[in-house]
């Protein structure tokens, strides 16, 4: 019998237990499947359990481990993917009723790479329908129902990677894969109190992933520690001939040693003035912890660009093209969220010149943000201005007086920048707060090092929700 606390261990620790043969992949897989069946469905976090293939993969992993063939630190660790990643012969629903019976004949590259690393895929996890591309404005925006954060089931798990966030936080998987177009890894990670990594655009192949916005979409890990994010990234990063935007870079994780110099961290002006008080105090405590190995520069002016109009116009135009047949068919009406049922029609009228202008301004945006990175290693900010939103309200009505200041999530996505977020406290209603560190392109090593160092001296990532 596996003690419940084991299910909350980091993927790295699970891997060490497996490889020391203190447990088996089969035992973990069975246990996680049971938890997904019960807790997972209560949280609306699960679309499809992959029981048969998972048990077969787990047996194979155990056999290889017994023979001393350890493929990677993740060998034998059970995991889940957001249900926008293709898995051969198993439904891939994109969280949306019109695609509920969609089945692909191939695996996404990320799924294939994790299989090569020996990880065991046990579930397709819930998501906001079409990754939020049609403009949802409330938590109930998936045919699986509103994703619930395990910290307080009256509140949302975040979107659009709602299932991965809840499943990782509730100890239902060893780790998960999410996706981000503009905030969809960071937000559910923050609202569920897990550690999430948005990789640099192009570092992880998107072959086999649902396209919402070809110039913004990214896949990344959602885990119970920064080190786990690093180990998962190590398994999935790298060039893929099937994704022309992927780059010929690998990622290698090594636990950091003593730093020769302090990191330089900037805090944008205005990023805490109007956030919830608990979010602010947690952020200030994080900065205090960071000062052990970083110098902090406060009140830095964030470059002035139309971040919101640019990201909105790009998502509208590319999203309308990606879902053209759905929009033209009238099947938008089958979507769960009323806002999603009409969002595509206005997107269809996005002027081409406006779209191209939004693509043109991304170059000066990158130059301006890179100029900031000439004098720092990373930007620190609260991930979200508030804790999670109640599921019975429109998002805009949840915390109308709260603001996060500079548009860091759209900016980071428009510039293709990596960011890691990690839990850093608790706020209203017992819900987690979160810190984000964002760096220049391909700075994942430094970001994860900083997050790892913070997690060495804090316990926020080890907290477990009461699930009874």
């Amino acid at each position: 019998m596996t003690p419940p606390s084991v299910y909350f261990e980091s993927a790295a620790a699970l891997g060490r237990m497996l490889h020391a043969r203190r447990t088996t992949s089969l035992a973990l897989t069975r246990g996680y499947l049971d938890r997904l069946r019960t807790i997972g469905h209560e949280l609306n976090a699960v679309v499809t359990l992959m029981e048969d293939s998972a048990l077969a993969e787990a047996e194979r992993a155990d056999e290889e481990i017994r023979r001393g063939r350890i493929r990677s630190p993740l060998h034998g660790v059970p995991y889940g993917v957001k249900d926008l990643l293709a898995t051969r012969g198993v439904p891939t629903t994109w969280g949306a009723e019109p695609y509920r019976n969609q089945v692909f004949d191939h695996d996404a590259t990320v799924v294939r790479r994790l299989r090569d690393a020996g990880a065991v895929l046990i579930a397709k996890l819930a998501m906001v329908e079409l990754a939020g591309g049609m403009g949802y404005d409330e938590a109930d925006a998936s045919f699986t129902g509103p994703g619930l954060t395990p910290w307080n089931r009256a509140f949302w798990s975040g979107g659009s990677s709602s299932g991965p966030g809840a499943a990782v936080a509730a100890g239902l998987v060893g780790f998960a894969i999410g996706s981000e177009t503009s905030g969809s890894i960071l937000t559910p990670s923050a609202f569920c109190g897990v550690t999430g990594l948005r990789p640099t655009y192009g570092l992880v192949s998107r072959h086999g992933a649902m396209a919402l916005s070809w110039t913004l979409d990214k896949l990344g890990p959602m885990c119970r520690s920064a080190e786990d994010c690093a180990l998962v990234l190590q398994a999935i990063a790298g060039r893929d001939p099937k994704d022309a935007t992927s780059v010929a870079r690998r990622f290698r994780w090594q636990r950091p040693e003593r730093r020769a110099r302090k990191l330089r961290v900037l805090v944008p002006k205005g990023c805490v003035e109007k956030v919830q008080p608990e979010v602010r105090s947690a952020f200030e405590a994080s900065l205090h912890e960071l000062e052990a190995f970083a110098t902090i520069e406060h009140d830095v002016e964030w470059p002035d660009f139309p971040w919101g109009p640019s990201v909105g116009t790009i998502v509208d135009a590319e999203g309308a093209a990606a879902f053209l047949s759905l929009i033209e068919s009238g099947d938008l009406a089958k979507l769960r969220c009323p806002a999603d049922r009409i969002g595509g029609y206005s997107s269809m009228l996005t002027p081409a010149v406006d779209y191209v202008q939004a693509l043109r301004v991304r170059a000066p945006m990158k130059r301006a943000v890179n100029a900031l990175f000439q004098r720092c290693d990373m930007i620190a900010s609260p991930t979200r201005a508030s804790v999670s939103y109640p599921i019975d309200k429109k998002f805009r009505d949840a915390y109308p007086d709260v603001s996060g200041g500079p548009a860091l999530i759209p900016a980071g996505n428009l510039c293709g920048l990596p960011a890691v977020c990690l839990p850093n406290g608790f706020g209203q209603h017992g819900l987690p707060t979160s810190l984000t560190l964002m760096g220049p392109a391909f700075s994942e090593s430094l970001l994860l090092e900083a997050a790892y160092r913070l997690q060495l001296v804090t316990e926020w990532h080890r907290q477990q929700p009461q699930l009874a």
């Binding site: 805009r396 200041g405 548009a407």
Partner: protein, 112 residues
Amino acid sequence: MHAPNRRRFLQWFATVAAVPWTRTALPALGAVAAATAAAQTTEEEAPPPEVGPWLEIVKQRWGRTLSPDDLKAIGDNLAWTARSGKTLRALSLQNADEPDVVFRAERPVVEK
């Protein structure tokens, strides 16, 4: 049917609420600041003139399945589209500023 305002929501959700376009320009980006300021609007402002014709296109193409509330919500979305477009078209970009997407010609792959 409830009629949310999609574009304003997208903007708000991305930036976390009420003051998404706080403008404190870097000196070199003053033109951008001016352009974005032009897009700042209030709820009460009249819809841009192109919204009416655009909404007529929506009615013509998909109107048989849309309720009056749906059309009102789509009109709100289109107003956001028009205002965002105005902002983006006011950017001070030069002729040589290309879209940040690289197109490449490719030689045919020779099958052996």
